[in-house]
Each structure stands twice: as structure tokens, then as C-alpha cells.
Subunit: 162 residues, 2 copies
């Protein structure tokens, strides 16, 4: 019974993935509320990823105007605890959330300091570095974050003069 037909959805979403995430909530005995469903949909719909709580609140409120910002925060926290989402901090004072993807290979973030847009870059180069650190520093690495700050292609073109 978890998979009711999706209404009010503006684009195509991956129904299998949605179904799967709903099941994971079920398995943990979490209730499948309309707020949670709509937040999951919004996350699946989002192309760029990297949504902040406020971003999501704005999106989700269109279809569920009575939803509270606190609910969005609580749901994101819940999904992050379940490893459905990753919290990301790009240093702009708000946390952003990204659906946990393929564990196979990492991606890093390119953050444009001019327009704030976040790009991704696939790479596995860090694995060997991690192993070196584990040995040399005796530090058991659980996670890493690599961020590059700079000027994106688009903003470079707009730079005529300073």
C-alpha cells in the first residue's frame, strides 16, 4: 500500500527509487506522512541536488502550503540519519542536502564564489591518499570532503573588467 499514485508532480521522477525509499521508512517503522512523501519527491525531482532546507521548503510549500519549516528540517535530519541524504556544507552558512548515490566512486564539488552554483567532478584519486594517512597518522578515516572554490565557466565569460 505504500505506493499511491503521484499527483501534483511537475516532472518525471524515478518511481522505483521513490518506492524503495518509502519502503526504507516503513522498515524503520517511520510513518509515511504526506509531508515526508512530498519532500522525498522534491528531492528526487531536483536535478542539481545541493538543496538547502529553505530551498526545499519553498518547493514543497507550493503543493503543501501548511507545511512547517521545522518539519522540513526534521525530515531532512531523519533522512540524513538513514543515510538517504548526505549533509553538505559549502561554507555559505546553510547546510545542503544531496541524495546518497552510488558508493562506487566519489565526486567532489566545485563551488563558484561568484554565483554560488555548485558543480560536480568525478574522481577516485583520494583513495591512495586516504590509505597513506591511515598509516602515517594512525587516523581511521570515515569520510572526506574535497571542495574547490573558484570561478565557473559562466562567470568567467561575464568578467569583462574589474
Amino acid at each position: 500500500m505504500p505506493l499511491k499514485p503521484l499527483h501534483c508532480v511537475r516532472g518525471p521522477i524515478n518511481l522505483d527509487r521513490f518506492h524503495d525509499l518509502c519502503d526504507r521508512l516503513h522498515q524503520k517503522e517511520y510513518k509515511l506522512t504526506p509531508q515526508r512523501k512530498i519532500i522525498l519527491q522534491a528531492l528526487l525531482l531536483d536535478e542539481d541536488g545541493h538543496l538547502s532546507a529553505e530551498d526545499l521548503y519553498g518547493i514543497v510549500k507550493q503543493q503543501h502550503p501548511e507545511i512547517g519549516l521545522a518539519t522540513v528540517y526534521r525530515t531532512l535530519e531523519l533522512l540524513a540519519d538513514m543515510d538517504i541524504l548526505q549533509k553538505m556544507d559549502f561554507g555559505d552558512g546553510r547546510l545542503r542536502y544531496e541524495l546518497t548515490g552510488d558508493e562506487a566512486h566519489h565526486h567532489h564539488h566545485l563551488i563558484c564564489t561568484q554565483c554560488g552554483k555548485v558543480y560536480e567532478f568525478e574522481d577516485d584519486l583520494l583513495d591512495s591518499l586516504e590509505q597513506a594517512i591511515q598509516k602515517r597518522k594512525n587516523f581511521k578515516i570515515v569520510d572526506h570532503q574535497l571542495k574547490f572554490f573558484g570561478i565557473c565557466h559562466h562567470c568567467q565569460n561575464q568578467e569583462t573588467r574589474d
Copy 2:
């Protein structure tokens, strides 16, 4: 006249470096107030680096009890603008500040998720990765941050069972 003898300093500090930083303030026409001097001293004294504003406030208040937290923030902001300090965000909800060092090679941060301590790791591996990104993504990189999260040596030893 910038270099008055340092009193109330608990440890040895690099006087040349202190003198140099004072000069840089002068050159930018910034006033050399006792608050600024004492904050610079505290930064030079600190071994671990990675002090937060509140950390510094605590240290500095011992010698200058009337100092305001806002002054600490404003001074740190000023020093960061002058590239004397680097702002660092380790995801614990407060910014930390580190004296800008040798530009020659980078160091990365190992952040213990158990005790919060921050270790450093020297490495230049990222240069080739940066160049690859510049070309492939046409993204002009200005800065990067690489953080590893995990369990430090000390906390691993304390882990008897879960």
C-alpha cells in the same frame, strides 16, 4: 614605534613575525590598537591553530578583560581580508582561523569526529587534480579545501567496546 616590548605574554612568540604583521596594518592605514595587538599575539602564540572567535575571546580576555566579543570578530574579519588569516569551517557550527602560512605546499585537515581535535597533513597531491579540473570543467580554481573525518589515534585507543 610599532614594536613596543611585549608584556603579559605567556610564551615565546616570533617577534619578527609580530613586527611584520603590525607593519602590514600600518601600511593599510589601520590603527594599531591594544586589542588588535593582543589578538595578533594570541594568534602567534597558539600552537594548534584552528582557534574559533570564542576561543580567542577567552584567551584575550585574560589580559584585556574589557574587550568585546564583537571586536574579536571584527579583528578576525579584518585579518582574514588582509590574508593574514584563513577562515576554516570544520562543520561544527563555528568558524576557525588559522595564520596564513607558507604558500609553498598545502596541508589538509584531519578532523576527529569523536573529540573534535584537528590534525594536519602535508601534501601536494592535489595540484595535478586542480589542473585537470581547470581544463575539463573550465573552472578557474582559486582555493580548495580537503577535510578527512574520522577517529584519531587517541580516541581509537579509548574505544574498548561500543
